[in-house]
């Protein structure tokens, strides 16, 4: 019954589809050792075939790459990297962006103005360039990639939260909380935060979709993990070298993984937004 209800609501289908995709990849990441048919760097074809990519076959549904690694397995293992980076970066960006946005928006004043200027400047700058700049000086690792993404997405959370706080502040609700004599910290934690939470959730979905693409961009440029560790963006980067030689499977599957995972978050975010914005006649 509850399930039916969520599907019937506006955006419900999207949220459900998005969550399913996300959970699917998270499950892949967690269960990689069980699910992956081969190790990520296991030469799973006879040595004499290991110099050239082998097309999809029953043993290798997504084919193998030029080193004889199984593409499907690498996608399964690679999900660990994306999932980790995106989860970590989301946590970090929220941990920084949300409190800053709350406080900055609530108190206003010169600190808010300076903070907003900084955040806006960073926000207006192309995220992928910023992430590349930071990641390339930090060096490739999951943690560093997450930090680079954090630099890009903190302003996103900050701006959204701040804007929402300002919106709330303009509402009669805030006046009634002030006249009720509640202390500021209480208002922020018990009233503003819960009211901003849905926005944060929507931003989480949309920013994470974007973050996956930025992560893919970083990993495309080899800034997330060190080959031969499995990683979608990196596999796509190397796989594309074989596209013109006819080995399309090295390009198609990692790209699909990136796009579908990002689409999962996009569906979640957009679905949530629709759910919240259009509850008029629920």
């Amino acid at each position: 019954m509850a399930k039916q209800a969520i599907l019937a609501r506006p955006g419900g289908l999207m949220v459900t589809a998005g969550l399913s995709i996300i959970l699917f990849y998270v499950a892949l990441a967690v269960l990689a050792p069980i699910l992956a048919p081969y190790g990520p760097t296991e030469v799973s074809v006879p040595k004499e075939l290991a110099g050239r990519p082998q097309p999809p076959s029953p043993e290798h549904p997504f084919g193998t790459n030029e080193l004889g690694y199984d593409v499907l397995s690498r996608i399964v293992w690679g999900s660990r990297v994306v999932v980790q980076v995106v989860a970590l970066s989301a946590v970090l960006s929220m941990a920084v962006g949300v409190p800053l946005g709350l406080v900055s928006g609530y108190y206003g004043g010169p600190v808010d103005r300076v903070l907003s200027l900084v955040m806006d400047s960073v926000y207006a700058f192309p995220g992928i360039l910023l992430a590349i700049a930071v990641a390339s000086v930090l060096g490739p690792s999951v943690g560093n990639a997450a930090i680079s993404l954090m630099v890009v997405y903190v302003p996103t959370y900050f701006r959204m939260v701040r804007a929402r706080v300002l919106e709330l502040k303009a509402r009669p609700l805030m006046e009634s909380l002030w006249t009720a004599g509640l202390p500021d910290h209480w208002i922020i934690l018990k009233h503003i935060l819960p009211n901003v939470a849905p926005t944060i959730l929507v931003v989480f979905g949309l920013a994470s979709a974007d973050a996956i693409l930025t992560e893919a961009g970083l990993s495309f440029f080899g800034l997330v993990v060190v080959y031969p560790e499995a990683d979608w963006g990196l596999d796509l980067y190397y796989g594309k070298n074989w596209l013109l030689s006819g080995a399309w499977w090295l390009t198609l599957f990692p790209g699909l993984a990136i796009t579908s995972f990002a689409a999962g978050f996009a569906l979640l975010g957009e679905g949530l937004a629709r759910m919240m914005g259009e509850e008029r006649w629920s």
């Binding site: 400047s121 992928i128 796509l236």
Partner: protein, 339 residues
């Protein structure tokens, strides 16, 4: 209009702090962490160490960081972006001036493609029927999750490697040198038009197709989403109710609604420009497009500090400028805006 001029001056002044912020961030990021432009070029050559020191000195890398920070900034104030640290004696400004027209051309056409796609599918997502509507909706929500290098490769495969069309589109570069275009502005479209070089124009446009479509597909979905939600809102608004109650035909009504939809969207386009530039980087790498994005990537690898700083400052400045222009356009669209 005096107030508009004042507003423009004010907005222009506001670009300064944001440029400064980005410069500072980049400076800190670059200098705090290891890497050295001199070694990047000469590190694996048998260059004697004293020679390396001499070059560092020439580049001013031996000075204290704060001094380097301030000196560069002072230079920028005089519109001097310094000399490249890896290409001796070449002013960074020349690199920027060389690459910028390419980026601008790609950005403009990518933008046009995205607006056309975005508008069409945004409207289809609201007013379309059945599968068209579903498709447009799906595109609006998930289109921007297409990974640019990936979709670019697919387009290359489909339109250049195994072309499904009777002709094949070029996959890299901006122009075939054979067409002999005389360069005036660096914007090849403009150049080919003002020099009346029709073959060059066709060639340049052909080169632009795949990169701008790639960019357009991805960015268009963001517009589609905006158009969709704002159009729905406008269509549900009193304004449209008013039109409808007067018996205005749907098509006219849609036109008026779209105009009202564009007002909030135009503001968004200023921000979108940054995303456009970002997307342009990936597009540039995919299509060998000699723009600023690839320049930046190259120079990051070589730790060409001055060039990186220069490009970042230039980007920040351009972004500021574009959002200013957008604001002015906004005023043209909306009679209520006063500056």
């Amino acid at each position: 209009m005096g107030s508009l001029a004042r507003y423009i001056a004010l907005r222009a002044a506001l670009i300064v702090p944001s440029v400064l912020i980005l410069y500072t961030i980049v400076f800190v990021v670059l200098r705090v962490i290891p890497g050295d432009p001199v070694l990047a070029v000469l590190g694996t050559k048998s260059v004697p160490p004293e020679e390396l020191e001499r070059i560092r000195e020439r580049l001013g890398l031996d000075k204290p960081l704060y001094q380097q920070y301030i000196e560069y900034l002072m230079g920028v104030l005089r519109l001097d972006f310094g000399e490249s640290m890896v290409y001796t004696g070449r002013p960074v400004w020349n690199d920027i001036a060389d690459r910028f027209p390419a980026t601008l051309e790609l950005a403009v056409f990518g933008f046009l493609a995205s607006v056309v796609l975005g508008l069409a599918s945004g409207v289809a997502a609201v007013k379309g029927r059945g599968p068209i509507r579903a498709l447009a909706n799906f595109y609006a929500v998930t289109g921007y999750t297409l990974f640019i290098p990936w979709i670019g490769l697919i387009l290359i495969y489909v339109f250049a490697v195994n072309p499904i069309l009777p002709f094949r589109l070029p996959v890299g570069g901006r122009i075939s040198p054979e067409v002999g275009l005389r360069e005036v502005t660096g914007l090849y479209i403009v150049d080919s038009i003002i020099t009346g070089n029709i073959p060059a124009l066709i060639d340049v446009l052909a080169h632009l197709v795949l990169p701008s479509v790639t960019l357009g597909i991805v960015l268009g979905s963001a517009y589609a989403r905006l158009v969709r939600s704002h159009l729905r809102e406008v269509l549900a608004s009193e304004i449209v109710a008013g039109y409808r109650a007067r018996g205005i035909p749907e098509i006219l009504l849609l036109r008026h609604a779209l105009r009202n939809t564009m007002v909030p969207i135009v503001t968004y386009m200023g921000l979108q420009f940054a995303i456009l530039l970002g997307g342009a980087v990936l597009t540039e790498t995919t299509f060998s497009w000699p723009g600023l994005g690839t320049l930046l990537l190259e120079r990051i690898e070589l730790r060409d500090y001055t060039a990186i700083q220069g490009v970042v400052i230039f980007f920040a400045f351009m972004i500021g400028l574009v959002s200013l222009v957008v604001d002015v356009i906004y005023a043209l669209l909306d009679p209520r805006i006063r500056y």
